[in-house]
């Protein structure tokens, strides 16, 4: 028990002194998750609107498939990206393996179903009369989609934050395609994994506290949004 308290004390010290290793891993985690989340939002908001406003055969099936992929294991995506981008893979020539770029690509694939599904749900939650009123007032399909999205803004933002949380907290994908290279691809989660296996519990705990603090901030933001 005493060891644990010592570890906690050391962790706090690492945090308040802005330890370079902790800060670097935290910064990289945030940067990769934010980039992948922004790209995913850029894809999912228009795509989600297109799916929501279109009528086509198999729409329900598509929605079911999207929902099935919400919880796909990160290692499964990691394996797929690894196969694609490894030197012998079809995209091996891009030489992206073990770079932050391939981690972003992997996270985009990981987060897309979640953000897409939640965006469609958010649009479903908007009173249909809003869209119809816009159409009856002369809005084009695109203009009607924009005003519907505006009415779903809090729920859509929730979808984006949920996507960010998933990207930020994942470890399997980052380990497999990032390689946990110090100064290059080491993130909070991969560093915690490594330091724990090395027995450096203080550093692992410090990194864990940062991870929990950021997750807490995300959760609080989410709660405030849902209350609006």
């Amino acid at each position: 028990m005493e060891e644990l308290w010592q570890a906690l004390g050391k962790a706090v010290e690492l945090l308040v002194t802005f330890d370079a290793e902790v800060m670097e891993a935290s910064g990289r985690s945030l940067a990769i998750a934010a980039t992948s989340c922004s790209i995913t939002a850029f894809i999912c908001l228009p795509l989600g609107s297109l799916i929501h406003f279109s009528r086509f055969r198999g729409k329900r099936l598509l929605l079911n498939i999207i929902q099935t992929f919400y919880g796909i294991p990160t290692v499964a995506i990691g394996l797929m990206v690894f196969v694609l981008f490894s030197s012998s893979g079809p995209l091996g020539g891009l030489d992206l393996m073990f770079t932050p770029a391939v981690m972003v690509i992997g996270q985009v694939i990981l987060v897309t179903p979640l953000m897409l599904g939640l965006t469609i749900s958010a649009l479903n939650g908007v009173d249909k009369a809003i869209t119809e009123t816009a159409v009856s007032l002369g809005a084009s399909r695109f203009q009607a989609a924009i005003i519907t999205l505006k009415h779903a803004r809090y729920a859509v933002l929730t979808a984006v934050i949920m996507g960010f949380s998933r990207a930020f907290a994942e470890v399997g994908l980052a380990l497999m395609v990032g390689g946990n290279i110090k100064g290059a691809t080491r993130t909070l989660t991969t560093a915690i994994s490594l330091e724990t296996s090395k027995g450096d519990i203080e550093l692992a705990l410090a990194l864990g506290i940062v991870l929990i603090l950021i997750a807490l901030i995300i959760s609080l933001t989410l709660n405030r949004l849902q209350q609006r």
């Binding site: 809003i130 159409v135 009856s136 007032l137 809005a139 505006k150």
Partner: protein, 358 residues
């Protein structure tokens, strides 16, 4: 010239027809009221006219363009109309933003938008609310925003679905005033659904009676209210005296009708022996205490069964060999002492009676 014409228009949800064989013609400048009970299909018809739904059968011609044709330009046509729905729907933004939406979507210049939105808000008396979020308004105020939003685009056709339903009397008066002013001042065609017949009479120059998905009668308000073509239309437009009779004699077009053993004289085109419904509007019946010499061909002695004050008028139910309902002002009822059990004389003219074949 017809701006809207429907040809054998029908709409079906599942196996149930909501509208069947609707042949409607609305000329440019008409104010056309669709009246009918709840569930008659009025909203569905307006939604079809606004091209929000595709009809199951038939076609809609808008200003000569067949909207159900392969080359229909929904957006262009819809931008020539505006639709105000029964339940006021406002966007989650300022009152100004709500009213400006339609103009922004038509890519109007911002200076023109400001000017026109302020004009529309002045018209509906909401200029002081322009910066308020429209979601914080009362139902009546929100409906006025919806009307301003519809009028600001200067539509050729304004579609109104029960614009004053479920609103307080003050809001109804304000909205009716705005609509009456717009109709008087602008070249606009209006198609409005209402179950308030007085509103239809007040605002419209043409009325269509829609019941059970069928357009039963169209005509001027006077045609509809004085000469309904069926018992159900008569009942809906408030003709409460509907009697069964048989034409027993004719002198030109003056018919003598036997009603429950009593004879009534009425103007009718039907032949002797024909079974007819006799419609008498309550307001066409005069009640007196003595048998006055009047020009009315029909005078019957009877007794008051019930006298009820409804709004400013007394509704007097009497029995004169057949049941009759008359309406009199409160003052007249008090002066004449019209209470249950009182003997009275009920008079009405032969021309005040409308007959239809049973």
């Amino acid at each position: 010239m017809a701006i809207i014409e429907t040809l054998s228009l029908g709409q079906k949800y599942g196996r149930q027809y909501t509208l069947k064989n609707i042949n409607l013609r609305v000329d440019a400048g008409d104010v056309f009221a669709l009246i009918g009970p709840t569930g008659a299909g009025k909203t569905t018809l307006l939604r079809l006219l606004n091209l929000l739904e595709k009809p199951f059968e038939g076609s809609i011609i808008f200003d000569g363009i067949n909207t159900t044709g392969p080359n229909s330009h929904y957006l262009e046509i819809r931008r020539r109309m505006s639709f105000v729905q029964q339940k006021p729907v406002v966007f989650d933004m300022s009152v100004f933003g709500n009213v400006a939406c339609g103009l922004k979507w038509r890519h109007e210049q911002s200076e023109a938008i400001k000017q026109r939105v302020e004009g529309a808000l002045n018209l509906v008396d909401l200029i002081d609310y322009e910066n308020r979020n429209a979601r914080t308004l009362s139902g009546g105020e929100a409906q006025r925003v919806a009307i301003a939003r519809a009028l600001v685009t200067e539509p050729e056709v304004l579609l109104l679905d029960e614009p004053t339903a479920n609103l307080d009397p003050n809001s109804i008066t304000k909205i009716e005033e705005v609509l009456a002013h717009t109709i008087a001042e602008q070249t606009i065609t209006v198609v409005m659904a209402t179950h308030d017949m007085s509103q239809g009479q007040y605002l419209a120059n043409k009325i269509g009676v829609l019941m059970n998905g069928k357009l039963l009668q169209t005509g001027s308000p006077d045609d509809i209210f004085s000469s309904p073509i069926s018992r159900e239309v008569a009942e809906f437009v408030g003709i409460e005296n509907i009697l069964d009779g048989e034409i027993v004699d004719k002198d030109g077009n003056l018919a003598t009708i036997d009603v429950n053993g009593t004879t009534i004289q009425a103007i009718s085109d039907y032949a002797i022996g024909e079974r007819v419904y006799v419609f008498i509007r309550p307001e066409d019946i005069i009640l007196t205490l003595a048998q006055d010499i009047t020009s009315a061909r029909n005078t019957f002695r009877g007794r008051i069964v019930k006298a009820t004050l409804i709004g400013p008028l007394f509704h007097i139910k009497a029995y004169c060999g057949f049941p009759l309902l008359a309406v009199v002002t409160r003052r007249s009822a008090q002066e004449l002492g019209l209470i249950a059990g009182r003997e009275i004389y009920a008079s009405f003219k032969a021309t005040a009676i409308h007959t239809i074949k049973k």
